[in-house]
């Protein structure tokens, strides 16, 4: 059963990664916020979850997360619009972002869709993309890769 598979994902080894250990979740659906928070807490992260109506930049500054996971299709403000705003803040642009959406597949999004939505070349692509419904293993792998890359860079 799929449910068991989901439950059975291993707790990731978290060597060499850490510092604040905090992930900011931006998602309009409260059930999905609850879900993501539970999953990430189970993996040993600290989480802060907000919806798109809140001012994201101050929230990011306040919580100083290691990573941001953000939905794209949100009714009152799109994740793309928030993403652009974040990348335009020099101090926040370094925080890696993983976008999540049912909007398109990962390959398609990174190869085409992103540049269609954000033609401005100075804005770099997000560090990761995970399609909804969420494959938790894929999500955790992406988080691991992104954080490792960040660690190396620093």
């Amino acid at each position: 059963m799929a449910a068991l598979v989901i439950y059975a994902i291993p707790v990731l080894s978290r060597e060499g990664v850490s510092m604040t250990n905090k992930i900011l979740i931006v998602e309009d659906e409260s059930d999905i916020r609850t879900y993501l928070s539970a999953v990430l807490m189970d993996q040993g992260f600290e989480t802060v979850a907000i919806d798109e109506t809140q001012a994201v930049v101050p929230a990011v500054r306040q919580s100083a997360p290691e990573l941001i996971i953000m939905d794209i299709m949100m009714p009152l403000r799109s994740g793309i619009s928030i993403f652009k705003e974040l990348r335009q803040q020099p101090d926040l642009a370094v925080i890696p972002v993983i976008l999540i959406s049912g909007y398109s597949g990962r390959e398609d999004f990174m190869a085409n869709e992103f540049r269609r939505l954000v033609p401005e070349r100075e804005i770099t692509a997000p560090e990761g993309f995970v399609e909804k419904p969420l494959d938790l293993e894929m999500l955790m792998n992406t988080i691991e890769t992104v954080l490792e890359t960040k660690g190396v860079a620093q």
Binding site: I6, Y7, Y35, A38, P75, G102, L134
Partner: protein, 603 residues
């Protein structure tokens, strides 16, 4: 000396004086009339014992220019023209011959004066001269050498003084006679000739003249001169040219127009039918179109207005009856033709709407397909979100069981239940949207629909402290509308408006539903002073499965509304400002409304 026979000599001596028709008088050195004949009596009346200036003019003094004095002094006959007053008090013109009577001593004791009344002939002469000079026509008199002998004032005004010049030189600047010379023809055969000449005038312009030459016959039938009368037709020709251009322009326009054009004269007969109209009416090139035929083709409502004498008729959408009895959708418009306030009939244009109708139907279809496309994308997104939420519920449930965390299990169960319910709602709404039951439009009073929706919401609005009002234009005629569908649209809009007031931070508390009729369109407006929408939100409103209501909405209401409005041939517009409020407007142009279902005509 030449002497007459005896008997005649006696008659001359005794009777001639009294018999001559001119007035004759004998005047002495004191200018007193001492003797006069019967004609003098008849002309000037009583003369005995009076002086000539008194008799002729009623003057007491001798005239300044006295001709008699001259005759006395010079002893030569004088001829003068003088105006005198006759016995009836009329001023008349006389030629006077004043003859000195010279006696044997060479003295002039008397004058004999003869007066000939020339009033009439003088008048005629003057009139003739006036006519000759002022007639709106150039007159030349030309002799056999083609020299101009005389011109009238009109001709000298535009040509200068031409007397003595050869006509071809003076009029045209040529050195030789013209080939088409009308004067030569008249000199040859003595008859009237006409022609078209070009003259070069004083101011260097070229004028077109219509010329007539006639001989000026003498009593014996011979003639040495011809009169050339030339009428300036330059302006006429220019006008004719203008007219010709206007005519050919209009004719081209009418012939090549894509729209049908036809015209009726004041008696109602068909005068013009252009090729496009012929095509519409199914007539061959040569075929005439009678009044009765046209009667049968064009709709009764059209003829009603035409016969009522309307200055303008306009039917944005009506039908004509083709030969085979089928109906063709057309646009018909017409205007009365008035010239100087007199009716000269009517001109009409007729436009085939079948192609436009077909394109409109295609467009409607394309819009519907696009809506479905957006719906499918939106649906996929919605389902993915729901699936994610279900997975979330399962995760909480399973991990809760694993950890023995009852609270987590509880949360997972709730999440599952909530999202399963949501899926049910979603699928139901989607099914009804996708099936999109066929529009069944009938003639309905637009007021009734809005009234019913308003009544339905009044209680809910009141509970939330919101006032809900319905305002309607006085006379909005029934329209072909699917009652159920339009009811659904208004239900959606009014529901949204109440929600917008409830979530507004600015305390919005008014929702107004309006019904208007503007420019041939039925218009519903739903206005609220609730939270309003920003640009981003407005942009998304109709384009995705979009809801701001979280679990409370499916994101289908406005899509459904848009679809129904489109199926009615209408449009939906919105004006909104954050924190000020929103107006949704459904505009239903009457001529685009759907066909009523069978047996449900709308009059």
């Amino acid at each position: 000396v030449n002497r007459p026979p005896k008997r005649v000599e006696k008659w001359i001596q005794t009777q001639l004086f009294d018999t001559v028709p001119m007035a004759m008088a004998v005047i002495d050195a004191h200018f007193e009339i001492v003797y006069a004949n019967q004609a003098f009596d008849a002309t000037f009346g009583q003369w005995q014992g009076r002086r000539c200036h008194d008799v002729y003019l009623g003057r007491k003094q001798r005239c300044r220019d006295c001709v008699g004095t001259q005759a006395f002094q010079t002893r030569k006959p004088q001829v003068s023209k003088q105006s005198c007053v006759d016995r009836d008090g009329n001023q008349r013109l006389y030629i006077k011959h004043t003859l000195p009577v010279i006696d044997e001593q060479g003295q002039v004791p008397f004058l004999v004066e003869m007066c000939t009344d020339v009033t009439e002939s003088d008048q005629i002469k003057r009139e003739y001269q006036l006519l000759f000079d002022q007639v709106p026509c150039n007159i030349l008199i030309i002799d056999r050498d083609f020299r101009i002998v005389k011109t009238n004032a009109q001709a000298s005004k535009i040509m200068g003084n031409l007397v003595g010049h050869r006509c071809y030189k003076g009029l045209k600047g040529l050195d030789e006679k013209c080939v088409e010379c009308t004067a030569r023809q008249t000199f040859e055969d003595g008859s009237l000739h006409t022609g078209h000449h070009l003259w070069r005038t004083l101011d260097g312009e070229t004028r077109h003249l219509h010329v007539i030459t006639v001989p000026i016959l003498q009593d014996d039938g011979s003639f040495e001169t011809v009169m050339e009368m030339a009428v300036d037709v330059t302006k006429t020709l220019r006008l004719e040219d203008g007219l010709k251009f206007a005519h050919s322009f209009l004719e081209t326009l009418i012939t090549t127009a894509m729209d049908g054009i036809f015209a009726l004269d004041e008696s109602g007969e068909v005068r013009i039918v252009n090729p496009a109209a012929r095509k519409l009416f199914n007539l061959s090139k040569a075929q005439n179109l009678s009044r009765d035929q046209l009667n049968a083709i064009l709709p009764a409502e059209f003829w009603d207005q035409v016969r009522a004498g309307q200055p303008r008729v306009y039917f944005p959408e009506t039908t004509i009856t083709c030969k085979d009895g089928s109906l063709l959708p057309v646009r018909l418009s017409g205007n009365k033709l008035n010239i100087n306030n007199k009716s000269k009939g009517m001109a009409f244009s007729i436009q085939d709407l079948s192609e436009i109708k077909r394109l409109e139907a295609d467009k409607l279809e394309a819009e519907r397909l696009a809506a479905v496309g957006q719906t499918v994308a939106g649906l996929a997104h919605g389902i993915k979100n729901l699936t994610t939420a279900l997975e979330g519920g399962l995760y909480l449930l399973n991990s809760g069981v694993g950890k023995g965390d009852i609270e987590r299990i509880q949360k997972g169960m709730e999440m599952l239940g909530r999202n399963i319910e949501r899926i049910t709602m979603f699928v139901k709404a989607f099914l009804s949207f996708a099936k999109g039951r066929e529009i069944r439009a009938k003639c309905n009073p637009p007021q009734a629909i809005a009234k019913e929706v308003t009544d339905m919401y009044v209680a809910r609005a009141q509970q939330s402290g919101i006032s809900l009002a319905f305002e309607a234009d006085q006379k909005v005629a029934p329209a072909v509308i699917d009652y159920e569908s339009m009811h659904e649209c208004l239900t959606n809009l009014v529901g949204n408006a109440i929600d917008a007031c409830q979530v507004s931070e600015n305390g919005g508390s008014h929702v107004t539903v309006r019904l208007l009729e503007r420019k041939g369109a039925v218009i519903y407006e739903v206005e609220d002073d609730g939270c309003g929408m920003d640009y981003e939100l407005k942009r998304k409103l109709f384009t995705t499965f979009f809801t701001t209501k979280g679990l409370g909405g499916t994101g289908l209401g406005l899509l459904m509304t848009k679809k129904i409005v489109h199926e009615h041939g209408g449009t939906i517009e919105l004006e909104s400002e954050p924190k000020k409020g929103t107006v949704f407007r459904i505009v239903l142009p009457r001529h685009r409304l759907p066909q009523p279902i069978e047996g449900a005509d709308c009059q």
